[in-house]
């Protein structure tokens, strides 16, 4: 073979290798940037999805208050509201509500494919209750509770209103200011009463009256029975200013129902009753506060109290993103208003693995 041919072959091989390596290097360098562009597009798409959910009423507009309607188009907004959500549309997202929409209902009405979502709504701050002591003094028992109001672990100055329910008895305390998000309250409860009791605490931000939160704390009073969670005897579903009570056991009897807002307490009026189902009317208040609805009753032996908030928040619904089947999970947060109270809305959206 002539030397020239060897040289040409060598030169061509060198050229080919270098061109290929240059192309490979270039593609490696550009790949992250092309992915960034893809992520930006995905993020923008999911941002628009969040806005769509929060700014549209859905169709029909009254799908929230009418329990038999499944929306053909999804949207949580109140009519004529900007980032103001409808109390019933929100309550129907809570899976504990008997009229809750299923995840497939939500996805179908959103008319989107290959996207998984998870929605959550919670108050702006948390109320934490802890029972520090209970002292039996013969005729009554004195309970001492620590109340903390915190946001992301940091204390928040608030004004709190507390009520304690045992059997059909309501004990209320005057307003208490938690200067550094901490306070102590005590209740003396008659020992002639017994059963599952519940402490209800509503807290309002010291300066902003539109920031309100609440918490309930169930415990056994004067009883050796073990404490059962809410939802064991009754299923409480507030909707369209009506509290729907489903009895989950034959031996359960309901006696009274109450509504607690930050400034008011009402006994609810029963409008319907059969063997396993009751309805109560919930008052429409101007008070800037969520409502905590409490139903008292008895199972075969013991008295109990079960509670549900209206709007039925905190809630979390949708897909779980704990597995690795989804990528590009993007979270959007928005401050929203429901019945003039501010809450935090979070939407996690994710597409299939790319």
């Amino acid at each position: 073979m002539p030397t020239a041919s060897i040289d040409t072959f060598f030169a061509c091989s060198l050229m080919t290798i270098l061109v290929l390596s240059a192309m490979a290097g270039l593609s490696i360098t550009l790949f992250p940037h092309s992915t960034t562009s893809y992520n930006e597009e995905t993020e923008e798409r999911f941002l628009q999805l969040t806005k769509y959910i929060l700014l549209n009423t859905g169709s029909p507009e009254n799908w929230g208050e009418n329990s038999s309607i499944v929306p053909s188009y999804f949207g949580l907004a109140e009519t004529n509201g900007i980032y103001a959500l409808n109390i019933d549309k929100v309550s129907r997202l809570n899976i504990e509500n008997v009229y809750a929409l299923s995840y497939s209902n939500i996805l179908d009405s959103l008319k989107i494919k290959n996207v998984a979502i998870r929605m959550s709504i919670k108050p702006v701050f948390d109320v934490q209750i802890n029972m520090t002591s209970n002292l039996d003094e013969g005729n009554e028992t004195v309970y001492v509770f620590e109340i903390r109001t915190v946001k992301s672990g940091l204390p928040l100055s608030t004004l709190v209103k507390s009520h304690l329910l045992v059997e059909e008895q309501v004990y209320s305390k005057p307003y208490l200011t938690l200067q550094n998000g901490y306070g102590v309250i005590n209740f003396s409860v008659s020992n002639s009463l017994s059963g599952k009791a519940t402490l209800i605490v509503l807290a309002k931000h010291a300066f902003d009256p539109y920031i309100v939160s609440f918490a309930t704390y169930p415990f056994q009073h004067n009883s050796q029975e073990s404490l059962v969670e809410d939802g064991v005897f009754l299923q409480l579903s507030p909707l369209n200013y009506t509290l729907h009570v489903s009895l989950l056991h034959a031996a359960v009897n309901v006696s009274k129902a109450y509504a607690f807002s930050f400034n008011y307490t009402f006994e609810l009026r029963k409008t319907y009753e059969n063997e396993s189902f009751l309805k109560y009317t919930i008052p429409r208040l101007q008070d800037i506060s969520p409502l905590v609805l409490a139903v008292t009753g008895r199972n075969s032996t013991n008295a109990f109290v079960e509670c549900v908030p209206y709007p039925q928040i905190p809630l979390e619904t949708g897909a779980t993103f704990s597995d690795s089947t989804r990528s590009n999970v993007i979270t959007h947060q928005q401050i929203i208003m429901i019945n003039r109270v501010l809450y935090e809305f979070t939407l996690k959206s994710g597409g299939p693995t790319t």
Binding site: P2, T3, F10, V19, F207
Partner: protein
Amino acid sequence: MMKNEKAQVRVLEAFLAVLLVFSAFVVSATLFIVPEESGGEELDSLGMQVLLALDKEGLLGRFIDEGNWTGLRESLKALLPPAVLFNLTVYSESMQKLNTTPISNQAVKSSQVTCIEYVCASRNLNFRYYILRLQLAMAK
């Protein structure tokens, strides 16, 4: 000799081509501007959300009318995540600074500060408007 010269030229050509490819690669890499990752847009959106939420029921204007700077600071603290540093300055229509005390959680010292300007109309009977400048940064 002639053949050797031709071969040498070809090898030289090959090396020149290599040089050309590499120089093109290096030049194109330097020309490519990498977009800087920043959370500026998110902070911008967050700040605007918070101001809108405060203004929705007229509370923002009421705080300013009353000179309740503590209330304004505490409300911002409640609505913004704790990791976000803020500094709010309130100006009158004639751009005079109104807040007598700082409305901030910590000094905003960061290389990436987002600034939002917001016009708030008071719902008082005497019409007034205020210009708010909210600076936000992520705590490190």
